[in-house]
Symmetry: C2
Subunit: 318 residues, 2 copies
């Protein structure tokens, strides 16, 4: 759901991708405060949790409760990740607006990660889409093609294979199909080439860019995706999650820096940077001792900076 | 001097911009080892020092000796920064191939930094060009327009003023005129706009992009500059210099990450990444305890990475 007065949709994945990657479990009350602060900053699509067995990811055990709270914010698309049909049933029961299912383009990664081949995951996606059609036809389903730009296990991932899987997901019923640089191996030329091919293959179902900053190219890759028409970008506040390798390195693209880049370019994200910095403080209070990343929050906004404030949608007062 | 088999020229500024920004003074022998390692990695243009009074910048007191050593490497363009005519005389006497003179587009910054207005600096540049014409006509002179994308003192810098100063430098005799985002305030849209205008105004004299990573946009800004035809990029090994604000934040664009981006895009820099990492170790050995930045050296090269090796130019064995 793109905010009508914005040019680009920032899809905040921190409460899911970030929190499931850190060792500590953020208390539910702290998650809700963080989500409230993200909404107050203007984020209009938030991946709030993952519907997976709590024994595998105890950090996500409260997903249904977090979804219920997030749903109290009007105008916000509440997303959850599901790895399979069972997760989708739980997420639909909780009332999410949108599901996202990771489908790895790398055979080796897919087997290692979910013990299914990519084609078996596409079949699972199709089953989830049929379930959605029966139970909650208004819910949107996104397929996120992971390892689309390279794989830490098999190395190169053939672009033809990425597009083949993406097309299969679209034909299986996904509303949109995004590409994820899960491993931080992508480069701007590849990003432009692959997103162009994606759009040529599946048209308006071509979805979000989910870029990682592992080798410092996160924002350059987002710029490259923007250049070829991508208008939805996943990022994580404080760069939380996405397997950071090293101090100063983040996995996920940092929401603060991404918003700064687009706003500085004159593109409206709907996100207010000062309120976003306030949300960062809420995140830090909820995860004491955890490293957060981002250059713009450290450097501060440039002298003379002005940002047109997009009126915040009504919602709970913080 | 662009290497004939490369697509892009990386101009390494670490030995000048980096070393004059850190408190410690790198011993001369260590500087020479670092420069040798940079040459061995394939860097073909290196800003090796600054000709300024030693009482102002003791780190640069050995500039003439460093230049003399760098000149022993065939095929390498040896550059030095000079702030004025007196510095230019010393640099020419030392035998540099290329001078670079910073000319601030911000009136406030120029007065604060060199106690001259931008127009007075342009006049100084013209005097330096005349000196060059008399004494060493083969030497090239670059004007680097600093604060071209914004100023920490006056805030916004008018683009018309940036172009006016750039044109004045070109008319004053500069061989090329680059644009510097000294303050890390630039964004990709602005970078594209301003470099397009620069080329329209001064044609082939349009020079290097000198980007900072203060707010994380360094590589995105380099990509943007590449897109509009810029083919020379300043960067600093380990991101040394350029006023870093915070841990994990670097001032100058990190050479390692910049080379990785271009090489991953299939563009030849002439720089071998593994040898560049070896040069990073030489830098670190010469400046113990100083923080160096860069994501790619920390994350390592991606699985399946291949780089076409450009034969190293002959030079001293390390």
């Amino acid at each position: 759901m793109k905010h009508p007065t914005t040019d680009v949709l920032i899809s905040e994945v921190g409460p899911r991708d970030g929190l499931q990657s850190v060792k500590a479990t953020m208390p539910t009350a702290a998650k809700l405060r963080w989500i409230d602060a993200l909404v107050a900053a203007g984020l209009r699509e938030i991946e709030v949790g993952s519907f997976v067995p709590p024994r595998l990811l105890p950090q996500m055990a409260d997903a249904a409760e977090v979804v219920r709270h997030a749903l109290t914010h009007p105008g916000v698309t509440v997303m959850a990740l599901v790895p399979n049909l069972r997760g989708a049933e739980a997420a639909l029961a909780a009332g999410v607006h949108k599901l996202t299912l990771p489908v790895s383009a790398s055979h080796a990664h897919s087997l290692a990660n979910v013990r299914k081949t990519p084609d078996e995951m596409v079949a699972e996606l199709a089953r989830i889409c049929r379930l959605r059609d029966e139970r909650a036809p208004e819910v949107k389903i996104e397929a996120g093609i992971s390892t689309a730009f390279g794989c830490t296990i098999q190395g190169v991932v053939e672009e033809d294979e990425v597009i083949r899987i993406a097309v299969a997901c679209a034909e299986g019923g996904a509303d949109d199909v995004g590409l994820s640089d899960s491993t931080g191996m992508g480069n701007p030329a590849q990003v432009r080439r692959l997103f162009r091919r994606l759009r040529a293959a599946i048209g308006a179902k071509a979805g979000a860019a989910h870029m990682h900053n592992t080798r410092g190219l996160g924002l350059a890759n987002c710029l490259a995706a923007w250049d070829v028409g991508v208008r939805t970008f996943d990022s994580s506040q404080g760069g939380l999650g996405g397997c950071p390798y090293a101090p100063g390195a983040s996995g996920n693209v940092v929401t603060e820096d991404l918003v700064f880049m687009f706003e500085a370019m004159g593109l409206r994200t709907g996100v207010d940077l000062e309120r976003l910095f306030a949300a960062r403080a809420v995140l830090q209070a909820g995860l004491p001792g955890e490293a957060v990343y981002g250059m713009t929050p450290e450097a501060g906004l440039p002298k003379g900076w002005t940002q047109t404030r997009v009126p915040a949608a009504p919602g709970p007062t913080l």
